[in-house]
């Protein structure tokens, strides 16, 4: 990256064309979001008389307060809490169980280790969408419909994170574990004092990816949360549309859409470097 000059087309007219091209792309990417933002600040009447305005109105607080406090079926604030619990539960739960099992398969030899390894390898291949009906039955059987555990557990039953940590642990020099043994550390002390702090960046990167994954779940919460007070925000938006010929309350729906984007966007932008790293790592 040190010297990336030297190519003729990067100056003058060509440079402006490059910027222009990128700005057109940005507009395409941002227009839907901008429109949602505008719609969340105007009145229902403004929207019902097309074309709707393209600049924000002054009903921002009114619409967002309405969404957050009363919503349509359930207060959106409450849905956000549900989403937050679900996203954090999935991210933290998956990280914890994966760290432990990766530690076991890398640093111990125990009977069934290979079998275990291949079993979790199989889980890499199957998204939850493929086994929804039987998984639903299992969750229903446990009485976990409309519960946080029902939202969380089926989505942490996959081994991507285990593989990631396994790969990272393999790169930790053997001598560190030996030095810890000479220092008298037990396996769990080594795990807590050395392996865990060394994995900080990987854990954080994975957290970003898993948080977004959890927050953005749609099908699963749609199936198992029949009680509006357990809806997550991402699935709750669709529930806000009226079933018959009634008009949808667009300002509130759009305010909810914006609210649904905010936490994951904050995580992505705020932890951009970790996010990119997590993305690249998890696809390797």
């Amino acid at each position: 990256m040190a010297d990336r000059t030297g190519m003729v087309e990067k100056r003058g007219f060509g440079l402006w064309m490059t910027h222009l091209g990128l700005i057109v792309g940005l507009l395409f990417v941002f227009f839907p979001i901008w429109l949602a933002l505008v719609a969340s600040t105007v009145t229902q009447a403004d929207i019902m008389e097309p074309p709707m305005p393209l600049l924000p109105g002054d009903h921002f607080f009114e619409n967002y307060r309405k969404a957050l406090v009363s919503g349509i079926n359930a207060p959106v604030a409450w849905m956000m809490v549900n989403s937050m619990v679900m996203a954090l539960g999935i991210a933290l739960g998956k990280i914890v169980i994966s760290l432990l099992s990766a530690f076991a398969i890398v640093y111990f030899r125990f009977p069934g280790r290979r079998t275990f390894f291949w079993l979790i390898f199989l889980t890499l291949m199957l998204p939850v969408e493929v086994r929804i009906v039987p998984t639903y039955e299992v969750v229903a059987g446990f009485g976990m419909l409309n519960s946080y555990s029902g939202l969380i557990f089926p989505l942490i039953a996959s081994a991507t994170a285990t593989f990631l940590f396994r790969q990272f642990f393999m790169t930790v020099p053997d001598e560190l574990a030996e030095a810890a043994r000479v220092d008298g550390a037990t396996p769990m002390q080594f795990f807590r004092d050395i392996l865990l702090p060394m994995s900080r960046t990987n854990i954080a990167a994975l957290f970003v990816i898993l948080f977004i994954y959890g927050w953005n779940q749609y099908l699963w919460p749609l199936l198992i949360t029949t009680d509006p007070s357990m809806n997550t925000i991402v699935m709750g938006i669709k529930q806000m549309f009226p079933s018959g010929d009634d008009f949808a309350d667009w300002p509130v729906i759009m305010a909810t859409s914006i609210l649904a984007m905010i936490p994951p966007v904050i995580v992505v932008v705020g932890m951009q470097r970790l996010f990119i790293r997590g993305l690249v790592d998890s696809e390797k």
Partner: protein, 293 residues
Amino acid sequence: MEKRVTFKGLWLPLLLVLPQIVITAVFFFYPAGQAIWQSLFIPDPFGLSMKYVGLGNFEYLLGNPYYRASFVTTAIFSILVTVVSMGIALYLAVLADRLIKGSGVYRTLLIWPYAVAPAVAGVLWLFMFNTRVGVVSWYLGLLGYDWNHVLNGEEAMGLVVVASAWGRISYNFLFFLAGLQAIPKSVIEAAAIDGARFWTRFRTIVFPLLSPTTFFLLVVNIVYAFFETFGVIHTITSGGPQQSTTILVYKVYADGFVGQDLGSSAAQSVILLFIVGLLTIVQFKFIERRVHY
């Protein structure tokens, strides 16, 4: 690859893997086994008992015109989503890569739509193209085009494709930009000295060197289009009109939960499982090849 150092102990490692084993067994292997098992049965008309039909569900499905249509729909949908989102992302990545300064700014601006859930993306695009209030459909009307994705299957397909591809641009852009920036500048400069113009250089040097990234994204995007676009379709079209946007995953849901036909839904799951398996093998073959690059 194995570690030289291992700790002693039998119960400790078993205890460590226990949470994952339990969760995976209960919420993964058991349901997956159930899917396979159920795919061999059909419920009686009262839903009281199950009747063993062997591969009957599969035969029925493969002979069913709706299911076959769903296959075709899925293929068209996946190809379009993949081509559109990768095309736009590659275009933007090539432009950003040409910048000496500022590519980081564009990257920051372009990555955050990744955080938008497919279902939310669906709602945003639905809003723009809504037949009553949508801004875009209104302007199209001014131009004399009567947009109605509620009735027109092709328009519905176009809308779910764009909404799905839109949500994917960030991801593809990131990987393309990283791939482009990994190409040694000296190679491109050598080509420039050889007299190759930008487009020639792109076609003969850059694109071939980028092919591992491209191939990887191809597989990943197809998997995305197959499984993760449920939210887009459910919010925008609910599979309609006349099943014109009912992709396979949507059909599993529709038949299993709306239609309550568990045997058929399970058989569909098994077929999907098979497709994912194939895609995974393709991906692993590719990774293997990439190692030897």
